[in-house]
Structures are given as C-alpha cells and as structure tokens.
C-alpha cells in the first residue's frame, strides 16, 4: 500500500519544547548583549528580533496581509492604547527628530516578536494541544520576555496585553493582526512618555 499523498497546505508539526527553549535562549542573548543598557540597547534588540524572525521563518510562519487582519489589528491597537492614554495622558517629551529611526527599529522588533509568539509558537502549541493553550502560552511567553528588561511588576499588565493580542490572532486567523496592534501600541508609547 503506498503512502498517502501529502495534503497541500498542511505544515509539519513544530516541537513545542525546543521552540520555547530557543525563545528563552533568545531572551537570554538579548539580556546578555544589552548589559546595563537593557531595553535601550538597539544592537541587542536587533539581534533578538533577528533570531525570532529566523525561528518564525524556520517554522513556516507566513506573512498574510488582508483587510480583516488590518481591521482587527487596528481595533486591537485602540483597545490597548486607550487605557494607557487615560492613565498617562500625552506628554511628548522625546525629540520628534529621533522618532523615525526608533520607529523602524520598533516595527522590526515588535513584528518579529509577533511572527514568533502569535505565529510560530501559537501554531505549534495549537497543533500539539488546542487553541486555548496557544493563547495562554503565547501570552505567558510575551509577559516573561519583559521581566528581565523591566522587572516583575510589569508581568500582570503584559500578560493581559498578551491575552488581548492572542484574541486578535484568533479573530484574524493570522499573526499579522496582533503584529499591527503591537507595533501601533509601541509607536503610540513614544507620545506617552
């Protein structure tokens, strides 16, 4: 009896544990490279994002651009940013001339994080267990990556944001939507400082 023909569009399962180990290692590399500069180290952030992007590509996470993904992403961005504005107001103390370069870096880092967390990792966990586990695992990983950079007190807020981004992933069916939301929220943060 011959083997069944491969089904078009079905990607092979990615092992979850090595994927999480690789993610933890990427965070460790970022922290190690950054030293005291922490989140303010562009080279460390670039290396981190490059590693995540490479892992996402290895696992077959594809960039899908659609109106639905864009709409979900924008709505999610509003949901995330509004409480921050209500809490902090708009301050704009940072120099506008530095915004473009910073924005490019932010798009790369946040985009790579989403390609991995709500792309490759989400798919792997969903295939291994279920969609609920995928939302939770991705949210916990998202929150955990911020702890070495900002401290434990950011865990609750970043976990909540991770859940919202996971919901966006579910609603849109692609990591592009949470990427749009994540990038938008980060860019908006510039104007809240």
């Amino acid at each position: 009896m011959s083997a069944p023909a491969p089904t078009a569009g079905i990607r092979p399962a990615v092992p979850v544990v090595p994927l999480l180990a690789a993610f933890a290692a990427a965070v460790a590399v970022r922290v190690a490279l950054a030293g005291v500069a922490g989140a303010s180290s562009p080279p460390a952030a670039i290396v981190f994002a490059a590693v995540l992007a490479a892992l996402a590509a290895l696992c077959g996470a594809r960039l899908t651009v659609s109106r639905r993904a864009a709409a979900v992403g924008v709505v999610t961005a509003v949901v995330i940013v509004v409480p921050a504005v209500a809490h902090a107001g708009v301050a704009m103390t940072l120099p506008v001339r530095a915004f473009p370069a910073w924005a490019v870096l932010t798009v790369f880092v946040a985009g790579a994080e989403e390609a991995f967390l709500r792309g490759a990792l989400f798919d792997a966990v969903q295939r291994r267990w279920n969609v609920h586990a995928a939302v939770v695992v991705a949210a916990v990983a998202f929150a955990a990556l911020h702890v070495p950079l900002y401290g434990w007190h950011v865990l609750p807020l970043d976990l909540a944001v991770g859940l919202v981004l996971g919901a966006a992933r579910l609603a849109a069916g692609t990591w592009t939507a949470p990427a749009i939301a994540h990038i938008s929220a980060d860019l908006a943060g510039w104007w809240l400082l």
Partner: protein
C-alpha cells in the same frame, strides 16, 4: 469572543492594579541623554544644567487636586512626579496647586547608610495656603520616579530628608535605570546607593551570552531536524 472578553477584562484589571507609572508595554527603549548633575563629579560628561519640573494642577471646589504628571525636561526625564486625582488638598477657595521638583546639589547632612547618586530633588507643592497630601494609601498618594546616572545593580533606593537624617522608602525598579517610590511627603528626595553592596560591571555578560547561544543552536537544530523528518513522513 471569549478570549476577547477575557483579554479586555484582564487589561482593565491590570491597569487598575498597576503601579502608578508602569512602562507602557514595550518597544526598544530610547537611549537617555547623559545624566545632568547640579555639581558634576570628576570625569562626568559636560551637559546642560538639570531642569526643574513644574506643573499646575487644577482643584475642585473642596480643594482636591486633579491628576497630573510633572516631568523634568531631560531626554529620559530625571524626575517624574505623578499626582493621582484627589491626592493633594489646597485650602478652600484655591483654584490650583503648583507642584515642582527642583534639582539641588547634595549637602550635609548626607545619608549615613550610603551615597547619594545624582541630584537631590526638592519636591514642593504651593497654593494660596498650605497643601497637604491627603491620600491614605499608596494608590492615592503621589509617586516619584527618578532616573539614576547608571543602571548598575544593585540599584539605589529612595531616601527622604527628615531633619538631620535620611529615611529610606520602599523602592521598585521600573526601568533599566529608573526607580519609583510612593512620596507621601514633600521635601528633599534622592536616590541613595546603600553601602556594602557589590555592584555589577554592567558590560556584556559573556557567560549568559555563551549559554544562550548554545541553547539556541541546539534548539534550532532539533527543530530543523524534526521538521525535515516530518516533511519526509508526510
């Protein structure tokens, strides 16, 4: 839909419970300008003088303040005062409260438990009469954030001058070199590096880097091998 509702609910709860000024989500941090000292130590970079933060807060008919931030103007403010709504009370009839944080050089008496890092900031609130902090707990009292001159760890702690001595306040680290404490009183505040604590050098952590790269390579190989095998079996 259930995860959307759960996520939004979690977000609202997190913001209600968050410390007064949690870093907004993430994004690569923006490099701060060199620390501006009132009296620069030997070897410090030449910088403009540090700035005074000022903000006018409106008050309601009972004299309770509106919420607001008062930030100094450095890139990466060296001091931020957050006043929650109702935290301050001015005399009845006052229309506003002026809050300010003025940098001054450390002067005697200095803390007995360590060394002041950076400037002392004189925090004040003025109105038509005395202004009081009336918030009863940390969530309803003013919060101070200060940027330390460096991110070396262990980090400094907030101390407030009380007469001829300095009193420590519970301090949390909210950024690489930014520290936060509840400030239930006005007056002189400073970051103090407590004595007898060794500090990290602050450069690249070679051991962590090597370990991270090793795990990354191994995990990457495992993932690649498993994917290749899965494709062959498909």
């Amino acid at each position: 839909m259930q995860w959307t509702l759960a996520g939004v609910a979690a977000l609202m709860l997190a913001w209600l419970l968050a410390p007064a000024a949690v870093p907004i989500y993430d994004g690569p941090g923006f490099a701060d300008e060199p620390y501006r000292y009132v009296h620069p130590p030997a070897g410090a970079k030449a910088t403009p003088p540090p700035t005074t933060a000022k903000r006018t807060l409106t008050v309601n008919a009972q004299g309770f303040s509106a919420a607001g931030y008062s930030n100094s103007a450095e890139q990466g403010p060296q001091i931020v005062l957050y006043v929650p709504s109702g935290a301050l009370q001015a005399p009845v009839g006052a229309k506003s409260i002026d809050v300010s944080e003025t940098p001054v050089a450390p002067s005697a008496p200095l803390p007995s438990d360590g060394t002041i890092v950076g400037n002392v900031y004189r925090v004040a609130a003025t109105s038509t009469g005395p202004v009081q902090v009336v918030g009863k707990d940390a969530a309803h009292q003013p919060t101070l954030q200060m940027r330390a001159p460096s991110a070396q760890q262990p980090g400094p702690v907030f101390e407030h001058r009380v007469g001829n001595r300095w009193q420590q306040y519970p301090t949390i680290r909210v950024g690489q070199d930014i520290y936060q404490a509840t400030a239930p009183v006005f007056g002189d505040w400073a970051l103090v590096k407590v004595s007898s604590k060794s500090s990290s050098s602050g450069g690249v952590n070679a051991g962590l880097l090597a370990g991270g790269i090793a795990v990354l390579v191994i995990a990457g190989l495992i993932i690649a091998i498993r994917l290749v095998r899965s494709r062959r079996q498909a």
